[in-house]
Amino acid sequence: MHDKAKKRRIRYGMLGASAMTLLLSGCGPQYMVLDPVGPVGREELHLIILSVILTGIVIIPVLALLVFIVWRYRDKPGNRAPYQPKWSESRVLEVIWWGIPIVIVGILGYFTEKTTFALVRPPENNIAPITIEVTSLDWKWLFQYPDQKIATVNYAVIPTGVPINFVLTSDAPMNSFWVPRLGGQEYTMPGMAMRLWLQANQSGTYYGHGANFTGRGFAHMNFNVIAKPATQFYGWVQRVKSTSHPLTRAIYAQLKIPSVIGTTQYSSIPPNLFNGTVWADGGKYMPGMLPAQGTGSNSMKHNSTQ
């Protein structure tokens, strides 16, 4: 009887452990965060796993102790467990449970610091990155490729194995740019141009979505990031250049009007559209934004200052 219960407990324990491993190793691409395809997401996953293990050091004893104590010291006639109503101090015990969390926080804090600073830098140093300027609009995403001089709406194509320098802003309520399988998100904010390094080492189509609520159409603000080998990527750029219409300021003004639309691409982009937008929406007050980036004839009329 007792033996059986014990066996069952062990079996459940093993089941739990394997479930945990399965969860952490990523049970398929559905669990996007646990199944990263690039170095940034992988680094974040490592931190996630580390934090699970470290917090587990506290959680598991707490749960075990709770079950044990509540069972052993329950108020039942004939319970012969010791009863010491005045026992309420123990220097040794207190040192243990002030100490262990301090050590855990120390370790996790150290790795947090390391990863935080690492993610500010490009994931690979010896490959020239590609810059993509992302603007969140109501309720769509505009991707501009300043070097390739093309633009897309609601999808982006990137080369595999190349660090992507996403520069993020918003020309509408703030949103958050998140492609879970590539890595963590960052806010897109009016008047700011924030940088987010991501990289895909594997071809595929990756789900992305705005993560910060922006109103009625927010639920439909999804986009795909399509990773392709570099050669195919450049082929795609050429195709866009030769088959699409240019993005004009008039079209941009149209895009700014709140609506939910599908995907499009544009063969060219107006000069300084991105920087001008950031500058006019408040970028001029940010350190490091150069006046030349947005002023002059390129700045949009509705954003002019007087």
């Binding site: 408040g282 007050y285 200052t305 007087q306």
Partner: protein
Amino acid sequence: MAFIEYALHGRVANEEKPLEYQDPEQSIKILGFWIFLATDMLLFGCLFATYLVLRTHTDGGLTAKQLFDVPGFATETFLLLTSSFTGGLATLAMRNRNKSAVLAWIAVTVLLGLGFLGFEVSEFAANVARGATMQRSAFLSAFYTLVGTHGLHVSIGIGWMIVTWIQIARKGITRVTARKLFVVNLYWHFLDVVWVFIFTVVYLSGVVM
């Protein structure tokens, strides 16, 4: 007297202490007010934070340097510092049980406060005449809100002083009116402290930067 004294187990009034603290109920109210001041300090702290962040966001409008008029805010500072002093003299007179001096010093304080407000209003009016309205830029929104909130506090302080004046005139100096006077003066000195930071952080820094 009050239920609080009984709650405090009949601790009797202590003649050794300054008048406003002699009665336990009154000293509890004074402590409550001190804590309120700590809260109010945070309120101003947040306004200062906002001002500091938006200080340069002038949107092509007038900047701090162009806007501030040194003799103007120097006069305001002098008036407010002096009123803080005369307010203190009212407390002193209260502790010396000199009712007519109390009334006189409160009146002087109120007049100085009104003078301060007068200068501030005319400063704001002059700014607005130059096109520097609250709606013009984030800097101006933050400036008017910070300085205006202080001005609003001063106005409330003036009204409160008047109400206290009436009560002391009618009731004389009792432990209750002594506490009321002490508390309104705490408020008044606190506003002086806030002003010191306004002229340091807003005006002087604005002029030198």
